[in-house]
Amino acid sequence: MMAREVYLDNSSTTPMHPEVLKEMQTLLERKYGNPSSLHRLGNDAERTLSSSRQLLAEQLGVKSGEIYFTSGGTESNNMALAGIARRNYRRGKHLLTSKIEHPSVLEPLKKLEVEGFQVTYLEPDRNGLLDPFQLAETVTPKTILVSVMHVNNEIGTIQPIAEIAAAIKRKNPQTIVHVDAVQSFTRLPLSPREQGIDVLSISAHKFHGPKGTGALYIRGGILVEPLLAGGEQEKGLRAGTENTPGIAAMALAARLNSENRKEKTAQSKIFKEKMLSSIETAHPWAQINGPRKAEGVPNILNISFPGLKGEIILHALEEHNIFVSTGSACHSRKNKPSHVLEAIGAEKAALDGAIRMSFSCMNTTEEIEYAASKIPQVISELKAFMS
């Protein structure tokens, strides 16, 4: 058994980068001031806040005034959808999204439907891909907002967001394009201006930053209604004392995780291929969910063992200190099959027997080799006994 845990659940959350952790600790200890305070401690915190905003803006190639700090991906998505829909309904009440979005997109949309908005949910193909032209066809003069995730958290599909944005804008230049980039930010190149993205959500704990911190990019000129009533923070769009240590840690994590992107991607690719080839050699009956190598991100691998139960595989691997997930962690506690796998047409047995492995740059070759040799073994043991 490996002494240390082999953590292959990085799409759920990531461990903090040691440097980020250190930075955050220092800030928590020393820079505890409230950025709104008028004294020196307040000013210090305010400077930290604005330099973090600047750093994050540079990562995205946008203006620092277009970055708003939130409590994470869920809040960013809620603010983008509900905030924009409620503020812009006079232009129309039609919203557009896909069936494989994260619950933090789908649930606010459901609420908006109750409030009188019409929402169209587009179906992806078997690999989870959306067709930009099909999307654009659904856009009407009344479509105020389209929300599409960049990388799917369960199966790793990368949407062609630039093409999607362009197709939508050709049909209706007024339509606002929101991208949930929670899984992709720092891992894939992102430049909202070039790609035609108007609003973009990110979350720190998905890229080795702390939990409870995120951000929303809102292109200048777009009107958003705040979700929370309170103080004047974030230009009145997000009341509540800023989480300065978390925000600074997020900005640092963003910079660190974006460095050497090519090498990291190449390494992830090797991990995924190693894992895949060792599983497929031992168990040719295993099924990959979502895109094969090229179209998906290299750090997510979703694979089904029909006849076995995902939860049982998960616990069996846990015995060997290997940590994976069934579907996505957000709904793996409900005994409900994944809506993403359902939407891409997975069969019942594949739904029940799915596990997801997600890698990060903090995994080592040694860990992956260990896991790649252990997982097929565990599957063989379970198969002998369960099906």
């Binding site: 139960k309 049982i312 616990h315 069996a316 846990e318 015995e319 006994f385």
Partner: protein, 392 residues
């Protein structure tokens, strides 16, 4: 210090056993109040009195409402056996609960017959005194909005205006010890609660099948025990490893018999544990006909393996009734957490509803049952679960 007056019921009826029952209840009351010191529990014929600080009184009352044997709990005031003082206190109590135009009634119990006035006389004296005050208030002997109770006892007079119901039943421990076969489901915690209610001291036995069931399932069972411990006090939780037994049954025995064979194995282990722990009875959450493994034949097949009585308090309950009770005792939200447990793991598509004993015994002969069960029993891990929070 403020005072809680506790009335207890059924136990007052039990002739010679009474002092034993009262002692147990006294101990259970003291245990449940641990952590709310300083307090004092005194006992006087048919009542317990608890004096406790005003900051802890609400919490104490909440906890006492889960102590079996208690019929009701009242916040009471105590004064000396002096009519004038009683009247003043009565007026104060009415003022504390006053709404203009309200109706009231005084109800006196005089267990201290040496007090110079009879109960009706005391009622009317207090009534007259109150009506004489500036309060806008009327007597209504049939449907009073406020019932003021006065108890004239040897050590003083007690007055109270409200009564919170206790859970009834018998003090935990007066009827010996039992082992509860706990699953993660809705039924068994309710069965355990009913056992506690009849004065049984419980220990819980939970079978887990690592790696097929994860830590989440064990935590769920522990959390259910914590709920039971708030009613029954400290409780021992026995975690029995079931993987090998389950594997052997799965690999060597007919699939349709699997559930019944597993239950038989569990009950055999449970009975052995009961002897070790000096328990005299087994409890399960089974009811009749709820699922196909709960036919009369299947119950008979499980009964056959143990000589200790197997009690099934839910036998006459509908699922709805079980759910209602589970909500009331607050086990429901824990029970519905979706973790696999070892019974839901390999449910065969068509479990046998009428297995014969011969069939079952034949199947059991195909595996080294005795060794497997011994090893399961020998590897039980025991955790002590305390009513509030702690475990060790």
């Amino acid at each position: 210090m403020p005072l809680l007056l506790i009335r207890y019921g059924e136990i007052a009826l039990k002739g010679k056993n009474r002092p034993f029952f009262e002692k147990k209840l006294h101990k259970n009351i003291r245990n449940t109040l641990k952590g709310l010191e300083p307090f004092q529990v005194t006992f006087e014929k048919g009542r317990f009195f608890i004096s406790i600080t005003s900051e802890n009184i609400s919490q104490a009352q909440e906890r006492l409402q889960k102590v079996f044997g208690i019929i009701s709990i009242s916040r009471a005031a105590r004064v000396s056996l002096d009519l004038q003082e009683i009247c003043i206190e009565a007026l104060q109590l009415l003022k504390d609960n006053y709404k203009p135009g309200m109706t009231f009634k005084v109800n006196t119990h005089r267990s201290n017959k040496s007090f110079h006035l009879t109960s009706p006389k005391i009622n009317s004296t207090i009534g007259a005194y109150v009506l004489d005050s500036e309060l806008d208030i009327q007597v209504d002997v049939h449907n009073p909005q406020l019932l003021l109770t006065v108890e004239i006892r040897n050590k003083g007079a007690y007055l109270y205006a409200e009564e919170a119901a206790g859970p009834g039943g018998l003090p935990v421990g007066v009827n010996g010890k039992g082992i509860l076969l706990l699953s993660g489901g809705l039924d068994s915690p309710v069965a355990g609660w009913m056992a506690l209610k009849r004065g049984i001291e419980l220990e819980a036995l939970y079978f887990h099948s690592p790696p097929f069931t994860g830590e989440g399932s064990v935590n769920k069972a522990v959390d259910l025990c914590k709920v039971l411990a708030t009613y029954g006090g400290t409780l021992y939780f026995h975690l029995a490893p079931f993987t090998e037994l389950q594997k052997q049954i799965r690999l060597n025995c007919p699939e349709s018999l699997m559930i019944t064979l597993m239950r038989r194995a569990m009950l055999r282990v449970a009975e052995k544990l009961a002897y070790q722990r000096k328990a005299g009875v087994l409890f399960t959450g089974e009811s009749l006909g709820q699922v196909s493994s709960q036919t009369l034949e299947n119950l008979a097949a499980t009964n056959e393996v143990a000589s200790l009585p197997i009690l099934r308090p839910l036998i006459g309950f509908d699922k709805e009734e079980i759910i209602d009770r589970a909500r009331k005792i607050e086990s429901y939200d824990i029970s519905i957490r979706p973790f696999e447990d070892c019974c839901t793991l390999f449910v065969p598509p068509h479990p046998a509803t009428r297995p014969s004993l011969a069939e079952l015994q034949e199947a059991e002969n195909m595996i080294p049952l005795k060794e497997l069960e011994e090893s399961c029993l020998g590897n039980i891990e025991t955790i002590k679960i305390l009513p509030r929070g702690g475990e060790r």
